[in-house]
Symmetry: none
Amino acid sequence: MIKLLIKNKLIILYGVSLALLIFLLKWLEWRFLIMDHAVEIYIGFIAIIFTSLGVWLALKLTTPKVETIIVEKKIFINQEPDFTINQSESDKLGLSKRELEVLQLMAQGLSNQEIASRLYVSLNTIKTHSSRIFEKMSVKRRTQAVELAKRLQIIP
Amino acid sequence: MIKLLIKNKLIILYGVSLALLIFLLKWLEWRFLIMDHAVEIYIGFIAIIFTSLGVWLALKLTTPKVETIIVEKKIFINQEPDFTINQSESDKLGLSKRELEVLQLMAQGLSNQEIASRLYVSLNTIKTHSSRIFEKMSVKRRTQAVELAKRLQIIP
DNA sequence: ACAAAAATCATCCTAAAGTATGACCGAAAT
DNA sequence: ATTTCGGTCATACTTTAGGATGATTTTTGT
């Protein structure tokens, strides 16, 4: 019941306004009959009232201009499905092909011995490689090398 | 000259409209004086004219209503600045708060001694922690622990 | 209040990592 | 043809990491 009132409050308001207007006009008409010379005032009232009505109608009935705002929603992809090596950073370090190979295996958590076995070379060779890698990357430990390499996107 | 006309065309239009309106009113007044009973028609005309004026005024003088539509545009970013830990995987391993702390510092490439200094504990403590970490994660080396932790999204 | 878990530290020992240095070889550049 | 560079390997040594074990102190859950 209350909800119905609220929903149609515009219509009700409009009806009440019209009723009041008619009463006003009737009263003015009566005054007009009594005092023959109030035509200008009468017209003035009419003008004001209907101008107001026009304004009100215009405001109510115009379709609002639509403004579209595009909000950029950032979606973070936590993995790296399309990993591409950062060539420029890789070049800066000047790591050789073999050194990069060793670095990648390091990043997978392999020990020097495991890397040596996988690449069919001696442990000493891997030690030499890793030393050169650390030197070129200016780090002290393999863990730092891996961390830096991942940060620079040199390895996945 | 033409430009001036175009620039002030609204003002000119308004002036002309007003002039026409006055003429119309004068003519209606004349008619009203002649035929005493055309009051309702007269009022009707006035009403229509001024309602139109009101509408026109409202449209011209009010700032246009704007309806804002927000559209979300998805942007994919390949890194993970807003890292959220994978709680389920973290729970599975059963690492304690302190152990996770050590693991994170490990992942940053710090040595056990550096971790000990940073956490104001002894080197032996860190060794114990790291041993427990490797045990819980079923790995043999810190590099493997870091690799696994990153893969499971336990650390950034 | 009490037991369990977490955190701390120690010692002894082994394994792995890292440093320094020198050497050899082959391919590519000059 | 000679130099340069990348890759290989070795020896000797130091440092760091890791394993095993035991102990003490906090913290925490019931």
